[in-house]
Symmetry: D2
Subunit: 295 residues, 4 copies
Amino acid sequence: MPSTTSKPALTETSYGKSRIRLVQLTRRGDRHELRDLTVAVAFEGDYDTSYTDGDNRDVLPTDTMKNTVYALAARERAGEPEAFGMLLGRHFISRNPKLARVNVDLIDHGWSHVADGAREHGQAFVRRGPEVRTARIVTSHEGVTAEAGITDLIIMKTSRSAFADFPRDEFTTLPETHDRLLATALTATWTYRDTDVEFGPVFRTVRSTLLDAFARHDSLSVQHTLYAMGEVVLDSIDVVERITLEMPNRHHLPVDLTRFGLENRNEIFVATEEPHGLIKATLTRPSLIRPTLPR
Amino acid sequence: MPSTTSKPALTETSYGKSRIRLVQLTRRGDRHELRDLTVAVAFEGDYDTSYTDGDNRDVLPTDTMKNTVYALAARERAGEPEAFGMLLGRHFISRNPKLARVNVDLIDHGWSHVADGAREHGQAFVRRGPEVRTARIVTSHEGVTAEAGITDLIIMKTSRSAFADFPRDEFTTLPETHDRLLATALTATWTYRDTDVEFGPVFRTVRSTLLDAFARHDSLSVQHTLYAMGEVVLDSIDVVERITLEMPNRHHLPVDLTRFGLENRNEIFVATEEPHGLIKATLTRPSLIRPTLPR
Amino acid sequence: MPSTTSKPALTETSYGKSRIRLVQLTRRGDRHELRDLTVAVAFEGDYDTSYTDGDNRDVLPTDTMKNTVYALAARERAGEPEAFGMLLGRHFISRNPKLARVNVDLIDHGWSHVADGAREHGQAFVRRGPEVRTARIVTSHEGVTAEAGITDLIIMKTSRSAFADFPRDEFTTLPETHDRLLATALTATWTYRDTDVEFGPVFRTVRSTLLDAFARHDSLSVQHTLYAMGEVVLDSIDVVERITLEMPNRHHLPVDLTRFGLENRNEIFVATEEPHGLIKATLTRPSLIRPTLPR
Amino acid sequence: MPSTTSKPALTETSYGKSRIRLVQLTRRGDRHELRDLTVAVAFEGDYDTSYTDGDNRDVLPTDTMKNTVYALAARERAGEPEAFGMLLGRHFISRNPKLARVNVDLIDHGWSHVADGAREHGQAFVRRGPEVRTARIVTSHEGVTAEAGITDLIIMKTSRSAFADFPRDEFTTLPETHDRLLATALTATWTYRDTDVEFGPVFRTVRSTLLDAFARHDSLSVQHTLYAMGEVVLDSIDVVERITLEMPNRHHLPVDLTRFGLENRNEIFVATEEPHGLIKATLTRPSLIRPTLPR
């Protein structure tokens, strides 16, 4: 196929619109609800001539993608981010003949009602964070894959975290420790078995399961705790098939106070962001492993 | 024009250390507490010869300022940020003869214990945000001023917010509105009457008072709501003498859905960050106003 | 304590529009020019009833401010940022009876033409940075003040930088140094004597003067170099009356390589951003100093 | 293999250290040179028991990875980022028996000497940007792959950019245009045929080739220009086997001035960052395409 005169081959092509900001308000009498989303749409398909020849005849403008997000939210209401992503995916795949696969990524910015004594103000909100809820919906002619996730869940444990028994070489200066602070900004994404899921309640269950497993674990390393967190999710939430965890190790360094004639009883730390460790892994439910599963 | 011999005059000089990151852990049996601070120290005083001649004989190194933050936290424990700032201010002012005034700025990053069913894990934490608590302590030989504050409290009200009856000129295109979303990232700072204040509880009261006033107000403009929020704080919390509020107006623009044959019943909005309105004011308790109060 | 009838006093009020993004293209035959500005407009004046009573009758909407930026750029062309700021200032002050003072802040994002061999492509541009040029124009009924500046000019000198002969106390661990890296992200702002200035050429002269002074100085401290930089500007550029310099000290820490059996001949450094020193000062031309100059 | 009692399977595991900041100074008489790198090291290999059992016996600490970066820079000097990445890769792969693959990512922050009239100050520097040079070196027992790249090269063309002849549906409102601004923050990464490359000069040639192709192209869309840029690189620089380009479309929207009785002759634009288009593709030299090339 290739010859000296032929053109470069195209792979990994994708085009779309990112950072579409949608706030949808639902009024239920005196109580309002907010859905605050950042949406990205990316098309993959048979669009090579748009690259090679500037042929736009099948290139749905990314501006139209953006308009579609607002129009479908208005027409059908954006509910859970996964459901809204599926709605968008179905819409695009059914109308664009050259489209093979559409990825819809959603960030759900959380808001809580402002407290009114023991009750709540129905029409005033305060933003939760820094964590955000995420979803990724991939729609092709073969079907739909739904992933959910959480980003920037900043957590710390102040006991039962060790790191020892590691190999040493001439550049190793790290002391062994059996009582360190373990802090991370967790990013987790998980894949659902199918799309027949109560997305909101399951999200909240995964979140609390991750937090609880992190809190309870007797950690021998970040890797060890990461695995334990993923394992509990797979063990206890059967609609989750696979989970990917990404845990930067935000080091908290004990301050050497002996220079000042003081003792640091493991209480005074410098919080650092740079450099940081970075640990990642994907855990897959064992019944799903096939001999030919591609890495 | 300037005489050849005279040198430029120095004003507004200040030097110090910023972004000192301190995490202090307190163990009370099985329950741990975290104090997570970012501290900045700035010295003002008779340091002109360090600028003009490089005379460092009275210039306490900013590295020593940083060490002092850790050492004093270890020796005396960093409690409420205002109290820790006062401790630092007293230390520096008493030891540096050329120092006229030291400003200590503190950011208190909030952490909550991870939930354990209806109880809490004593030794695992999740970061609250995006808001942070702030404090500024100014210490001079004449005395101490304590300010407290909150930054990035992101709030929205979805009813009772209007903007109308404004002047129009040939460049005005804004329609009047009697039902808009009002969203802001509030920065508030307030000055205490003296330093005999329960800093933690009062901070929480100011915060909830601001939120409640924001929620309840029948807003005719951002200015109008800003004033109402500050006024309630001054009326109800007598240790607060003065409050400054800064409220960017994060516009939420209704999407014109008529182009798609749909109606927008004030439910679908584009959230924007740029451009934004910006409204600021300081409210001072009336009994403190003197005819000669400097602007 | 406060009387029940009197309301809080308002001070430091300001309202306006920030982050107005304007790109203006000028076509001169085959050669195009770009002006890429971020503009902020802030009104100060007799607007208290808008805060206290929600009276908007004199409150020019910030949306109109934004529209005015685009309209005046179209009608009169945005040239140098200072000139455009003055045009905006005059417009607003002449039409808004309650307006006492309008501040226009401008950021000028620099673009260069893309090289075409030894020449330039007339219609393609590449962004310069990270530094930006700034201007602040304050217009009142009494007159106009023009400030110019530069932000995020990141500079480093690798010789002739010392820090020694400083006082030591029980918390001092910093060694004296006579050969350190000195790096900063300079923010400079300067005030012009009047508005009869060639804003573009003078800006470029101040910038190159600051760089040259930084490079040439035998630095005994950041303070010392800051002063030297400002002094050369005042000595050599007579339309500059006053200059404020802000220099964070971005520490570059020599790595202790002896732990690895290696020597660090002052060549291997960790670049840090946190914590950092922070040095500020304003230098004023001596002929302008009056006995009563307020601090 | 899987059974109901077996544990989750691990895939996509990786651990390492990110954001290692290294500045290396080389003194050649009066002229100094700076190398300013941010390095990330990631290990992939047979480390599953560190996750499942907390077995750290083969887990080289990420702190040691960091120390190694400084030690090897001191011992052998960090030259071009690709060469330094290869040095690190060889070091790690030869010493860690469980290591299958090590990824070294490098960001090279550019500094220029400060001008001294027509010459240069040898020991003072100013940071270039916002663009940075990047490299990724993947080392396994099978060999080494070297990628180079550039991130945040912000470019704009003000002529010869169209977008028309696209499909329309009920949500399409975008007008066709034959004269728009085309602006992007380019990220490009390319793979070298082997490691026998003059990394510095070739990087500069790829950079200038991309800029020139962007400037010259008669653009029918972002896709079209992206392809043209990649094609020229592959056609003219034979050591590049493959190139990936990522081009967000930073929309510049013409302002409707007719509302103000003015005409916009395509000169006044609002620069926006959100939402933005996002176009990506990989171009591969045709002689390298195999029928079985995996997507």
